[in-house]
């Protein structure tokens, strides 16, 4: 997704773009996640600024690409089951509002108006009309097509080509060299490996997530609904299983329940513990789901950096190398802003927002503050 967005905005900035991927389109994490475009789950700060810019860009892209990417500006509803959680949620909403987010408190007795099948007895909630969704694989494929970039699927990058002056002049692949004066690392959860090919360190690590997909249903879940604990899970540093789910209906009919967060390396094997936790959370929010069948489950690996912020922008250690990776559980949502910022950097224009928090070299200067080693 990140690569597709970079390709689109770079092409629109007048550059000739080539997209190199060892697999097919959406073959990485993008094809194994969900497409929530959320502002609601973010604390005020650099990531929220990126998300707000992205939300605007997504709305514009949706106008162009129409239904092809299954964009739905359906809004999010965060609910709290107990008064304590509700107070924390309202407090977060107030801070988000001052950062530019639309966050509307919903009293307990108004919740059924928004979600008639929600479990009774909730303490209250907050409605976020800016939350939206896309179908990630379609979004990546259509952004790539719209970019007009030349695709090199099935090409694995095995080296970053650098001249005597240290400047990047292309990449080496298993099927030949591809020359370019600038290289963007949008290798997702493999972004650290790609950086290593250029001789630098970028500690991108996998955070596994499972998603449950139900049988197709008539629409009963109208928004993206999740419990207030979700925000704590997203920001958590814990390696253990976190599983407060987001429940949402899709255009195609199935309800998606996702996703768990767990740091277990690249282990794709089924975790019944994870799907149990997802199912229990979803049934807690929507009791009617108890009888509904899960058809499948799948796992993906979020690319995360120790401070939970992506790496976006030029790498001063390797002139000509740019990074657009490490978006963790928000890479679909944050993709357009990332692409736009990269295009600005490639063409020497001023960025829309301050790139300092996303500096790719920031982990070198913080001296061993990585959380864990790759």
């Amino acid at each position: 997704m990140a690569g597709a967005a970079c390709a689109l905005y770079a092409a629109r900035a007048g550059l000739e773009v080539r997209v190199v991927d060892r697999g097919a389109v959406a073959g990485g994490t993008t094809g194994a996640g969900e497409g929530n475009l959320l502002v609601s789950d973010k604390e005020p700060g650099p990531e929220l600024r990126l998300a707000l810019l992205s939300a605007r860009l997504w709305a514009g892209l949706a106008q162009e690409l129409g239904a092809a990417v299954e964009y739905e500006p359906k809004g999010g509803l965060v609910v709290a089951s107990a008064p304590g959680a509700l107070a924390a949620l309202r407090d977060l909403a107030a801070r988000q509002r001052s950062a530019g987010v639309t966050a509307v408190p919903v009293a307990a007795d108004r919740l059924p108006d928004l979600e008639p099948y929600l479990a009774p007895g909730m303490a209250g909630g907050v409605h976020y009309p800016q939350d939206a969704q896309v179908m990630p694989a379609l979004a990546a494929a259509h952004l790539l097509r719209a970019s007009g970039a030349r695709l090199h699927p099935g090409h694995t990058v095995t080296g970053v080509l650098r001249g005597a002056d240290g400047m990047v002049y292309g990449v080496r692949t298993d099927r030949g060299d591809i020359h370019a004066p600038a290289v963007v690392n949008a290798a997702g959860v493999r972004g650290g490996e790609l950086a290593a090919l250029a001789g630098i360190r970028l500690p991108v690590l996998p955070r596994r997530g499972f998603v449950l997909v139900t049988e197709p249903l008539p629409r009963r879940v109208r928004h993206k609904v999740y419990a207030a604990d979700y925000v704590a899970d997203v920001a958590s540093d814990s390696a253990g299983l976190r599983a407060s789910p987001v429940v949402e209906g899709t255009a195609a009919g199935p309800v998606l329940i996702g996703a768990t967060r767990e740091r277990v390396g690249f282990d794709r094997s089924l975790s019944l513990r994870a799907v149990r936790a997802l199912a229990a959370g979803a049934v807690g929010l929507f009791p009617f789901l108890r009888q509904v069948r899960a058809l499948r489950t799948y796992a993906g690996f979020r690319p995360y950096l120790p401070d939970h912020l992506p790496a976006i922008g030029p790498d001063p250690r390797v002139p000509g190398l740019f990074h657009a990776c490490g978006h963790e559980g928000a890479g679909i949502g944050l993709a357009p802003a990332t692409g736009l910022l990269i295009a600005r950097a490639l063409t020497g224009k001023a960025p829309e927002l301050d790139l300092t928090p996303f500096r790719p070299e920031r982990f070198d200067t913080q001296g061993g503050n990585d959380g864990e080693s790759p």
Binding site: A24, G27, L212, E215, A280, R293
Partner: protein, 465 residues
């Protein structure tokens, strides 16, 4: 209490039954878990008890083998050595971290709504196969059934799917299906097989090594003749026609390269089309356990062990080859599992006869495999508007668009971009067609849930791995 080792056998077809009886005879406590309400699997499928059929074995041959298996099962059940869990649909088998044991997760009850878990020290997967059906215009009309579906209706419910039938596709199963229908009183207008008759005779050396099956084949041919069934080798069904339901099919001859010969198309009236293009192994449970596959089948060694310790596999799940092969593999797997559960290395001499049968049957299956093939170029001839994935109503045209303009080069990407294979059957039906249209080999795919599972059952699982 001194506990005997417990072996869970999933599937009570020929392979699972043979394995269960063999292991039980060697002192293992067997849990035989099967989705059907009676033992027998595909091959020895029994009429539902409630039908009160007077001669339930009428549509069967090899009746004696079945009677031995059935009385054996009864004896072991009565002695408490085998517990037969009927009507249990297994959705997952998981290894327990630490103990080395396994948990079998099943759904029970008429709506498959009740969760049941069973523990065992080892598992043996004998889940059989399912039918491959390739799409063609009109294949979604009511009246078009799978060859196995027609057979199951005959065997299980003693009903005829229709009055005038055409049996079409490719593979050795078309013969018994056509004779079965004819014997039950249907008029079989034609048996349309895309393989040619000459291809069969060129493989005669391999076939001759399998006298039983050859005789069986000859027996079918004689019976077809007796019922006046027209056999059309090197022919294919190009399309099925009808408004509300099936009324006729268009049949055409194929040339030596497998393409329809111009000017040979003709219409055949019928109200039933039984169509099949061979079988594919069920690999879901094995794949989720982490067992390596080879091609589309579970990979096993000479003892029928998978590469995951404690997991055996036998029968159609390890490669399609008929009931004789399934029985032989089941016996070997049962011997091996029993010995290893008691901590001893099995003695292959105990299964020397089964081993010979297995080798012969596998050679025969390989020979058949190279003979029976869908007509060349079937995927290119598929019109854009033909539905390929029935669950999600995805047409051939949309699949080709994903491949052509969106850059999908494999079945997984096609699925992501078109939803083909995301529906109720999880791509079991459309997988071969999507692979054909994408131009890549069939990938068995991952289905962590072998059956759809109610979220309430998932939520009620114990909070451990």
């Amino acid at each position: 209490m001194t506990e005997r080792p417990r072996l869970a056998v999933v599937g009570a077809g020929p392979a699972g039954l043979a394995a269960a009886l063999t292991a039980a005879a060697r002192g293992v406590r067997v849990l035989l878990v099967d989705a059907a309400d009676q033992a027998g699997g595909q091959f020895y499928r029994q009429p539902a008890a409630g039908l009160g059929a007077r001669r339930p074995h009428a549509p069967h041959h090899r009746w004696r083998t079945w009677e031995r298996l059935r009385t054996g099962l009864e004896r072991h059940r009565a002695a408490g050595r085998i517990t037969h869990l009927t009507d249990h649909h297994v959705w997952c088998v998981a290894g327990e971290s630490g103990s080395g044991g396994f948990t079998v997760y099943a759904l029970r009850g008429p709506g498959q709504e009740e969760g049941v878990t069973v523990r065992a020290d080892a598992v043996l997967l004998a889940t059989g196969g399912y039918e491959r059906v390739l799409p063609f215009p009109g294949w979604t009309l009511p009246g078009v059934v799978t060859a196995g579906g027609a057979q199951a209706m005959l065997k299980g419910q003693l009903v005829l799917p229709g009055r005038t039938a055409v049996v079409a596709g490719t593979g050795p199963l078309l013969l018994p299906v056509a004779t079965g229908l004819a014997a039950a009183g249907a008029q079989v207008a034609a048996l349309v097989e895309s393989a040619g008759p000459a291809a069969l005779s060129r493989r005669l050396p391999a076939l001759a090594a399998q006298p039983g099956t050859l005789a069986e084949g000859a027996g079918y041919a004689a019976r077809l003749l007796r019922h006046g069934v027209r056999v059309l080798p090197r022919h294919t069904v190009l399309a099925a026609h009808g408004t509300e339901r099936l009324e006729a099919v268009t049949v055409a001859a194929l040339d030596r390269t497998g393409r329809p010969r111009p000017g040979t198309a003709r219409r055949v009236r019928c109200d039933t089309l039984a169509v099949g293009h061979g079988l594919l192994p069920h690999t879901d449970l094995a794949e989720t356990l982490g067992c390596a596959l080879s091609g589309t089948a579970v990979r096993v060694d000479a003892e029928q062990r998978t590469d995951v310790p404690g997991v055996w596999a036998a029968g159609e799940a390890t490669g399609v080859g008929g009931a004789t092969l399934a029985l032989a593999e089941g016996r070997i797997a049962g011997q091996s599992a029993a010995a290893r559960l008691y901590g001893t290395a099995p003695d292959p001499r105990r299964w020397a006869a089964a081993d010979r049968t297995r080798a012969r049957a596998r050679a025969f299956a390989a020979a058949l495999d190279s003979v029976y093939a869908p007509p060349a170029g079937w995927a290119e001839r598929l019109p854009d508007e033909t539905v390929v994935c029935r669950c999600e109503e995805v047409t051939a045209g949309r699949v080709c668009e994903a491949v052509g303009t969106l850059g999908a080069g494999d079945a997984r990407t096609v699925k992501l971009l078109t939803r083909a294979g995301m529906g109720w059957c999880q791509g079991r039906m459309c997988g071969p067609a999507v692979a054909g249209l994408t131009g890549c080999p069939l990938d068995p795919g991952r289905r962590p849930f072998a059956r759809p599972v109610p979220l309430g059952v998932l939520a009620g699982l114990p909070d451990t791995e």
